[in-house]
């Protein structure tokens, strides 16, 4: 902020001028001005002028360029260097436009020709000069500050114009890429000399432009000047200028290779440790079990009790090992989620059956509330079962009397799932910590399965991987309600996410990938003519055909009302085309089922990586575009 300054009532002016009569003339001219008034001191040569400037502060300098000891622009430069923060107005006998412009460019506030100014004009010129200089000094100060802040940032900061031209390249960018600012600036980002995954960045810029808000870019690969392949993590931030559209983008980030390596080491370590634990665990468990089972001879009651406790501890250690492995894979993003269309209501019915006996044994009522119409969403069934199992298990464990209720509610955009119990509840101050690792607040006392402190942390990871939210509501003494929401993703989004994942994998492994998109080309037309259930039946049939012709588990099909998309990793485009041809042929020959008389037209497109492009956005566009070869 620029502070509002109050103007002084008297301005001290230094006049540097070698005509002896001029100071008095000037005093006369300015005498009429009283608000503010002017106190004029004079120096008759450059040297004495500079001496005065060194001793006293002045509000402004009026300067003649032709002095006995200095001429022209040199005079100005000498004074300016001596008093860089004092406004200088040139007052000279020479009416020279070139000289005037030169002086202004070098920092003079104004250029006046003697004899052409009256008191009023001169007074306002001086006052404006003082104001202008004050703003100029402040602006320079802020700019210097800004520059210093920007250049001392230890992150990479790159400015890019909407056309893709580099406008800023900070010292960290120079250091990281080994390319000096002078070489990178004013070049297009594709030509700036960094060998990085440019299509990834360009795609993100498109997305950023469309959304108008920051986009995160993780794991952007680049080659350092020493040839080493490394990783960058970026935020792409749109900067809005005067208008609403982004006038510039900032790439803000860092080389995250070291962090990634540590993460990798950590999860490899946990994974190795938990694998290595399993064999000794198996030996101990089996040894104790054999003694308990009497294989090694008769045992008495007390021995049996002791060994049973040991066996329970081994089972707990096993659960810990499993849990650690789960959490490390979730944190490292190493779990591949298989999101299929699943009916949450049906899934809850299965959970209910699985827990019924356990509830009954404890004297608890197990209830479930499921909407009448099926709620289908794209989710990984095994992972959702894992979440429900964990929450229901917790509820049963910490409830001594009353009920446990599993509920599913259709909330339109999302599905809300909850497990409510009438158990001991959790203290308010502990609620925020329940999802942290190794936090246990309600250790069950007595016999039974002991917890690992990882269950809720795993649930949170799994829910978040589905882009949902999870939280607990609880009242000490009256019960707990664990809630999680799952968004109803559109098939297109699921397909895009999956394709993105597989494209990255293929690029990493250097293998091909193909996408098949089947589509009812005239969907709108037939949708009016054919009964909707018949159209859905036709899509079911097509989906069956497609799935029957997919050979491997990694092949995946996603559908909506009019389209089926299939991602075929490690498949050449020509092979994918022949699969598509076969599917449509079978559909025509054997399972026509009236689709011809209904006028349903099915077309397919095939997109191959890398031949049809390597950039995600391009392949995505090609796969989602309508039209294709007709069946």
């Amino acid at each position: 902020m620029i502070a509002k300054m109050t103007e002084k009532s008297c301005l001290r002016i230094l006049l540097i001028e070698d005509h002896t009569g001029y100071p008095d003339l000037l005093r006369d001219i300015l005498a009429e001005e009283s608000h503010p008034s002017y106190e004029i001191e004079s120096a008759s040569a450059l040297k004495s002028g500079l001496d005065r400037l060194g001793k006293d502060p002045y509000d402004a300098v009026l300067l003649d360029l032709s002095l006995s000891d200095s001429q022209g622009l040199n005079t100005f430069s000498a004074v300016h260097a001596k008093a860089p923060f004092t406004p200088i107005v040139i007052l000279t006998g020479q009416d020279d436009q070139t000289l005037a412009l030169d002086a202004l460019r070098n920092g003079a506030q104004d250029y006046l020709v003697k004899g052409k100014v009256d008191g009023k004009i001169l007074a306002s010129v001086i006052r404006f000069a003082i104001e202008r200089k004050r703003s100029e000094v402040l602006l320079r100060k802020y700019n210097t500050q800004k520059e210093q802040i920007l250049s001392s940032i230890t992150s990479i900061l790159i400015g890019v114009s909407p056309e893709g031209v580099i406008t800023h390249w900070n010292p960290m960018a120079e250091f990281t890429f080994g390319i000096p600012a002078i070489e990178a600036l004013n070049r297009h980002i594709t030509l700036c000399g960094v060998s990085w995954d440019i299509s990834f960045i360009m795609g993100a810029m498109d997305e950023c432009r469309k959304k108008g808000r920051p986009v995160r870019l993780d794991d952007v690969r680049y080659e350092r000047s020493d040839g080493q392949e490394r990783l960058l993590g970026f935020s792409l931030i749109p900067i809005r200028g005067e208008s609403d559209v982004a006038s510039e983008f900032l790439l803000f980030g860092a080389d995250i290779t070291a962090r990634k390596q540590i993460d990798q080491l950590k999860s490899e370590f946990i994974s190795t440790v938990s694998h290595e634990f399993r064999t000794p665990l198996a030996i101990i468990k089996e040894g104790i079990s054999q003694v308990l089972d009497g294989i090694c001879g008769e045992i008495n009651k007390s021995q049996k009790e002791t060994l049973t406790i040991s066996l329970q501890a081994i089972d707990r250690l096993t659960r810990l090992v499993d849990g650690l492995l789960d959490i490390s894979r979730i944190e490292a993003g190493h779990i591949e989620f298989k999101k299929d269309l699943i009916d949450i209501g049906q899934l809850v019915r299965e959970i209910h059956v699985a827990f019924q006996a356990r509830a009954r044994n404890k004297g608890l009522v197990l209830k479930s509330i499921i909407p009448e119409t099926p709620v289908s969403i794209y989710a990984d069934k095994d992972k959702i079962i894992q979440i429900f199992t964990n929450l229901t298990g917790n509820a049963l464990k910490f409830t001594e009397k009353g009920y446990v209720e599993i509920a599913v509610t259709d909330k339109g955009e999302t599905v809300e799932c909850s497990v409510t119990d009438t158990g001991k509840g959790i203290a308010k101050e502990d609620l925020s910590k329940v999802f942290d690792k190794f936090q246990q607040f309600a250790r069950a006392i007595g016999p039974g399965e002991k917890g690992t402190g990882l269950g809720l942390a795993i649930c949170k990871g799994l829910v978040e991987a589905h882009e949902g939210r999870i939280w607990l509501e609880s009242m000490l003494g009256s019960g707990t309600r664990a809630v999680f929401t799952l968004p109803k993703h559109k098939a297109v989004k699921i397909f895009k996410d999956y394709l993105r994942y597989q494209l990255r994998e293929s690029a990493k492994k250097d293998t091909p990938l193909s996408v098949l998109a089947f589509r009812i080309e005239n969907f709108d037309l037939v949708n009016e003519r054919v009964r909707p259930d018949k159209l859905a039946l036709f899509m079911d049939l097509l989906e069956q055909m497609v799935k029957k012709n997919l050979r491997r588990q990694a092949d995946k099909a996603v559908r909506d009302d009019a389209s089926i998309w299939v991602v075929l990793p490690a498949t050449q485009k020509k092979d994918a085309v022949s699969v598509a041809g076969r599917i449509l042929q079978i559909l025509n020959e054997e399972h026509d089922g009236g689709s011809v008389e209904a006028g349903i037209k099915v077309a397919y497109r095939c997109v191959g990586f890398p031949e049809d492009g390597t950039a995600e956005s391009i392949l995505m566009d090609k796969a989602l575009r309508s039209g294709g070869e007709y069946a």
Binding site: T279, L281, E286, Q290
Partner: protein, 123 residues
């Protein structure tokens, strides 16, 4: 009825000892090998009724042993129960692709192991 013959291939002698104890107690005849190569040879010469096969083995890993046996029509009918410390989906998938009939994850419930063996031998 002759006793059914089970081959255990695992590089952990203690574990082999434990499992053979258990299997013998349940009335099976037990053979064992401590690496993949030896396991494969023993499978060919003794033709067991079932093989319990670990995945991480010296000299030849479990996947390889499994696919050798399953590709050879003389032995391909011998059921293979994969035995692994790896519980990850990809590993299980790889095992299926190598032709394994079932798998069990370490540490295991003895009853579950015996049930699986029984089912595989009955088929």
């Amino acid at each position: 009825m002759p006793r059914k013959k089970i081959l255990i291939v695992d590089d952990e002698p203690d574990l082999v000892h434990m499992i053979s104890n258990r299997l013998k107690a349940s009335g099976y005849e037990v053979l064992s090998a401590l690496d993949g190569q030896a396991g494969l040879e023993l499978a060919k010469t003794t033709r067991p009724d079932l093989i319990i096969l670990d995945l991480m083995l010296p000299r030849m890993d479990g996947y390889k042993v499994c696919s050798y046996i399953k590709k050879d029509s003389r032995y391909s009918k011998i059921p293979i129960l994969l035995f692994s410390a790896k519980a990850q989906e990809e590993d299980i998938k790889m095992g299926e692709e190598a032709g394994a009939d079932a798998y069990i994850v370490k540490p295991f419930e003895a009853q579950a192991l015996l049930d699986k063996i029984k089912t595989l031998l009955a088929e």
